[in-house]
Amino acid sequence: MSKINFLKPDKSNLYNYLYFGSFLFFVSILDVFLNSFFKINLTGFLPNFLSFILPLTFGFIGLHLIRIEYSGIKNLDLLNKHINTNNFNAVLSLLIIFIIIKSIPSAMSWFVIDASFGGDSKDVCTGSGACWTYIKVWMRRFMYGMYPNGEQWRINLSFIALALLGSVGYFATDRFKKYLTLYYVVIYPFIAFLFIFFFISGGPVFFDFSYGIIAAILSIIVGFFIPNKFKFYYFLIVPFLLYILLKYFIFYEEIIELGKLDGLNWVETGAWGGLSLTFIISFFCLIFCFPIGMAFALGRRSGFPLIRYISIGFIEFWRGVPLITVLFMSAVMFPMFLPADFFIDKLVRCIIAISLFEAAYVAEVIRGGLQALPRGQYEAAKSLGMGYWRMHVFVILPQALKLVIPGIANTFLALVKDTPLIFVVGLLEIVGMLNLAKTNPEWLGFAMEGYVFAAIIFWIICYAMSKYSYNLEEKYKTDR
């Protein structure tokens, strides 16, 4: 047996080092463990500072002794490779282990052990832990805002139906697969829109809406007789003109009694709120900002200088200002820009503002994808005799969008995280409702529980979205 040198552990005395080193390491961890879980201080007889620093020193020496390269023991080598490569790493690893051990008991006791779950009033919350009763009592408000309790089945029904309709893509057979894009881009948003206005809002909104249906049906019927060449421009212009014509000139001040739905009370948008409002706003902004952003991305790369400059102006303006001022604008400035008798609902104004704002970001992301495509793609498409729109729809955009999936996902994540800002215009989604609940005189002092609850919900939503986008990216990855 060779001499043991404690400063330079080597392989020849492997087991001596190993036993002594791991003993020290475990002693240090045991000390911290007992200290934090059972409040037993093994080294209490020492002065304060020494007792504090001792486990770290023990652990450090222990880790130093077991740092033996190519020891031949699989677990030891793994340990050395991952947390114990040099002295500096060893100290950091020890600190992290200690922090985790120290924080587990207090976190556990706040979240579970000392927390109160039962009951339905503040009186049960006497422990030092969290008061989940508060969340339980206010749950409906956090989910549905001021929406009347008796009517909340309408929100649930709409969301379940929309979730089912949204999952159609997974069950579609090959025969219907080619229609899926059309379904998701046009039909599904339209159905969602109907659901929101029929079910969640209810009431007289539908009367206004009926002009739109009549205009759409009329223009589709007439559309069959329009030559193909002009069809695009026809559908771009005529339905809107017809709608305005019907609403303001022909049936002015008259109400068309079309499909009037009795029995559903009208719930004004001011009463909507909570998590469901977060979903509604994110959903619609997501749907609207994508095509607008795409249009401006194409506009920014257009060959027409005037269109290009207008697009650049639009994009850079929205990207340069914070969302909160945009919402301010939609709340106090926008009504000034409209005719006096023309009223747009607060929620709709909000959705327009957020959509335009996020569209600028989407436009920049898509532009990145367009720029990343090699020129050859454009030239090949042109040489096949494709026009501008055909080239972009069938060749350029599918490839460009595939490239920018991560960027788009990040923008959508930012959108979801930005929705709480609507408190500026007085709409209260979940964070706003939390702030309202915490000022309730009967439930003072539970701000922490509320924020932790909302943070967990948002974290789950955003984390799931980012993981999903990662999957999409993997799925559509094509080697070039």
Binding site: L92, S93, G303, R319, P322, F337, A340, Y451, F458, W459
Partner: protein, 383 residues
């Protein structure tokens, strides 16, 4: 010139549409303002503001003008943005490097931090710090001091104030030190390029930056003393700290939330940048005999910076824009002071909102101009 009449059509239609929309808006705005009896103009800026602001970097009270109030808000916004950018950059770099560490625990710890903080809305984090976390701090009379001079209480953080004498001399000596450092740096570069000799620039610069201000203390008659905050009793149960510098809890909460949130994004930029440098570059550098430190300093970092700077610029812009969330916790930034209180008092919606937006646009543009200039300096110089 490649001019085609055919091209005019779509452009004219677009311009016409834009002009029509804007015309419609301005016409309505005019009619609405006439109906309500509001006149358009920026004259209100010189009127007396007659409202107070809690926290201000420049002298301000109710008798000052609206323009002065605007300046107060703007300075507060810039203050919180600068502090936030500074802290977020440091934290972001540390976490980004930790994310690349071979140590499993450190790596996962950094990953946990990034995934945790960036998936929670900033506003929620801000509310958490302000309404939940900072409210658990002690009252002034119960506060324990750190090193006897810092007091962290529910009413804010109290730190000693610096009392300078002849501050301008100290300032000029610092400026002189920095100018000489730049001069030495260029000289060292020239020497290295022509003769291959290396001058220890770092030590010389540290020495210069220490020596110049020290000289100003010894010869220039500069002196520095501290004013330590002291507890003062107002009534039987009401205490405040007097003297020193006080940072309001709004500022602390806002800086914490902004820097913790933005640091996660900067960390990801740093990670992507360092990973983006090809493995071959490091191996090539090591094979010509550079030490690991030299590899990092001379080969990896210059290339990584090129990848890191543009997205980090975006994060700086985001942080500046996100500082407008201050309005939610009543930190008197430009949105709260100007687009909030001043707008309520004057009712000049169009003027005030447009000034606020224009201010943010200028802030954004100046940050991106600055960062673009820096980016151009470190970009590859192609011949």
């Amino acid at each position: 010139m490649n001019f085609k009449v055919k091209d005019l059509g779509p452009q004219l239609i677009t311009v016409l549409a834009v002009v029509l929309i804007f015309g419609f808006f301005t016409y309505n705005a005019q009619v609405n303002m006439e109906n309500r009896g509001i006149d358009f103009g920026y004259g209100f800026l010189s009127q007396e503001a007659s409202f107070d602001v809690q926290f201000s970097l420049i002298e301000y009270d109710g008798s000052h003008s609206y323009f002065r109030a605007y300046l107060v808000g703007l300075l507060n916004t810039i203050l919180v943005s600068v502090i936030g950018i500074f802290l977020a950059t440091i934290l972001g770099i540390i976490v980004g490097i930790a994310r690349l560490s071979s140590n499993y625990l450190i790596n996962k710890f950094a990953a946990f931090y990034v995934e945790f903080f960036r998936n929670i809305p900033l506003l929620l984090q801000l509310f958490f710090w302000y309404f939940a976390a900072l409210r658990t701090l002690p009252l002034p009379q119960e506060a324990e001091s750190t090193f006897g001079v810092f007091f962290l209480t529910i009413k804010g953080l109290y730190v000693p104030a610096f009392i300078w004498e002849n501050f301008s001399i100290f300032f000029y000596s610092l400026v002189a030190a920095f100018i000489s450092v730049i001069f030495i740096k260029t000289y060292a570069k020239k020497v290295q390029e022509s003769q291959g000799k290396q001058i220890p620039v770092l030590f010389i610069s540290i020495g210069l930056i220490l020596i110049f201000p020290l000289l100003s203390f010894l010869i220039g008659g500069v002196s520095l003393s501290f004013e330590i905050p002291k507890l003062k009793q107002l009534a039987t149960t009401s205490f405040v700290f007097d003297g020193g510098l006080s940072l309001p809890p709004e500022l602390i909460a806002l800086t914490l939330a902004l820097s913790l949130y933005t640091a996660t994004f900067i960390a990801e930029c740093v990670r992507a940048g360092v990973q983006g440098v090809g493995k071959g570059q490091k191996e090539a550098a090591a094979s010509i005999g550079l030490t690991p430190n030299q590899v990092l300093k001379l080969v990896v970092m210059p290339q990584a910076l090129r990848i890191i700077i543009p997205p980090t610029t975006n994060q700086y812009l985001n942080l500046t824009k996100n500082s407008s969330l201050a309005a939610a916790i009543a930190y008197p930034d430009i949105v709260l002071v100007f687009a909030g209180t001043a707008l309520m008092q004057t009712g000049k919606a169009i003027e005030i909102v447009s000034i606020t937006m224009f201010t943010y646009l200028s802030l954004s543009i100046s940050i991106s101009v600055l960062m673009n200039w820096y980016n151009k300096r470190i970009a590859i110089k192609e011949k």
